[in-house]
Symmetry: C2
Subunit: 375 residues, 2 copies
């Protein structure tokens, strides 16, 4: 399961072999600053019901999921729980001033933290800082670009790749040996490609495909949810879409989706080809020196009632079919989902009429789903 | 059919009794500046097929609609035709500087053109311009507000209503005696209400509900389209949604939709109550002294195959069922639709997979559907 997501690299100071339960939990909820871990552990619904008080701080089971899904909230029209999940994917926007544009051929393709830039300065034949010598000592106009001798995409990919390797595990953990295209906007020319784990350090955009697989029975809709393998380095044990994947260089969304459907859920192409594209969501998340700018293309696939997903790549522990109304409860009352899945499911809830204009904050929540640069 | 739309008032200099065909056409396509009328008359698809060359400049028939719907384009993946329709609803954004904020209780509720403001200045017991006496002669901070003695919504509604009546047909044509709430964002407190036809002169937001009614037969989707009565003062004879309406003060979207479904298309409440809210679109259009800021809540209603809509209020000439793919052709190749309907149908095309990420400009078009302040 290759997802566009906040990866293990988002908490570089916390090792995955950390012995303490709190840090282990932090690995599961890497979007939380440590001071919020305690409240995350509580699961907000715990305050209105004791049904889930037995949930451990480091894991949850499908039984916990079903109990939380069925829990009744005080005010079902309140969208705050959804907004909170959107915020989890859009942290620290006020810190954009700590980043300088990464410019190629006069196009902004990313943003680099001033601190990370200091590491890049050592590689003078790769990275250039044209306005460093500003006579007024100001950062105005400051940006980073690639050396003018790096003219082709291949040259740039190789040179930047060498730097990423050189900076190594200390600075950029979680190297995947997977290349993401560096572009100014979707469909625009590819300037070069960058290692997936390094993309947030260069603030380059990352695109993905996320699919909600649903079933309709007796007029009620159900979503197939996956529970990620405990062995996954990112978001182990958490809830996930039926199918999702990052979009590597050189493959279309549609082809990538069909491929991921096969690998992640055993959906044959004669079924997955019926998935329909339904829009896109975006977010921008700043954490330390990382600037994630993700755009996820959203898909719906209505599955036959008798279809049972089957994971083929060992990245999903199991799948369960959950009523959409219960999924909505999970989204707003727990932190069980991998962070960006919340947004794609909220988009589903909008399009399928589960969130309506009568709910206070309808337009605010709707808009927030494209909080990032969705281009 | 009470729609949130550019009304006859948008071309105040052209009388509806105008004898010349060109001006009559302009009434039908009031969003076009006169220099664009000739090209609008040509209908862009005329350049790739002669099938519709017989379309008159002042009207079209259902036969014209069917022919244009079936016409094949050179490049079906090109979204430019859709983008052009979005632009028709979002003109002159560069002229925002010709407007000053309309402020109530420290909230911006609208924008008033400097020229229109000069008329309002005559009503000193209603409108106040606090920064008019700027010592530097600059417009900075310039805004208009209501007199501090107008404390209640009722007082404000009456006082502004009197001014609107006084300015009369010369300045604000098309008075409907229908009140729209003046708010800073949807769900926020209502400061007062303003005559619907006057809303664009105060740049206050207007909300509406638009519903795509569709049928699924043998796996293919069809949209019910209405053709507006030739007697309608706005957009006579043009294509329309099955159901749409402005959102007056004091009624919820859901209730308004059910009411409009009954009046406009004879859809009984046991069917219309199954309409699902699917999101919202927004646009901002500046034309002369008018600043339209519309937000339309979008609905889908899947209708039984044997349901035949029946107009009950005389505002629709007739309805026809058209394959969605043909509707898409109509949107991008003709100007047959009432302008804002284009956007709501493009939103439908996105959500139902007729426009995909493989189409160049996908994200740009998707984003453009909420070009206005969607709050």
């Amino acid at each position: 399961m290759a997802m566009t997501s906040t990866s293990i690299a988002s908490v570089p100071s916390i090792s995955s072999s950390s012995p303490t339960p709190v840090l282990k939990y932090a690995m599961k909820f890497p979007l939380f600053p440590s001071r919020q871990i305690a409240s995350a552990v509580r699961h907000r619904f715990g305050s209105t019901t004791t049904a889930t008080s037995s949930v451990s701080s480091s894991s949850f089971t499908w039984d916990d999921v079903f109990r939380a899904g069925e829990s009744i909230q005080n005010d079902p029209s309140d969208l705050q729980g959804f907004l909170d999940k959107v915020k989890l994917c859009n942290r620290n926007s006020e810190k954009q001033s700590e980043f300088m544009p990464f410019v190629i051929e006069n196009q902004i393709v990313g943003y680099v933290h001033f601190g990370f830039a200091d590491h890049l300065r050592k590689f003078r034949d790769v990275f250039v800082f044209p306005k460093d010598n500003d006579a007024f000592g100001s950062n105005l106009g400051c940006h980073v670009t690639l050396h003018s001798l790096l003219k082709t995409a291949e040259d740039r990919t190789r040179a930047v790749g060498d730097v990423v390797k050189c900076l190594g595990k200390e600075l950029i953990p979680g190297i995947r040996n997977e290349l993401y295209p560096v572009i100014s906007s979707f469909g625009a020319p590819v300037f070069f490609s960058v290692e997936r784990a390094a993309a947030p350090y260069f603030g380059t955009k990352a695109y993905g495909v996320h699919m909600n697989g649903y079933v309709e029975k007796d007029g009620q809709k159900y979503l197939w949810l996956g529970k990620r393998s405990e062995a996954k380095p990112t978001y182990p044990g958490m809830l996930d879409h039926l199918v999702a994947g990052g979009l590597p260089h050189g493959i279309s969304c549609q082809k990538n989706l069909v491929k991921e459907c096969e690998e992640e859920a055993g959906i044959p192409s004669n079924i997955s080809s019926k998935a329909i594209s339904v829009g896109a969501i975006s977010y921008m998340d700043i954490e330390g020196q990382r600037f994630k700018r993700d755009i996820l293309f959203c898909y719906d696939l209505k599955l036959p009632e008798d279809f049972i997903p089957r994971n083929e790549d060992g990245e999903v522990e199991s799948f369960k079919l959950v009523p959409v109304r219960h999924v909505a409860n999970l989204i707003r009352n727990t932190e069980f989902f991998k962070a960006n899945c919340n947004l794609v499911i909220i988009d589903f809830l909008f399009r399928h009429g589960y969130i309506t204009p009568e709910n206070f904050g309808y337009l605010k929540l709707l808009q927030s789903l494209r909080n990032g640069d969705c281009s």
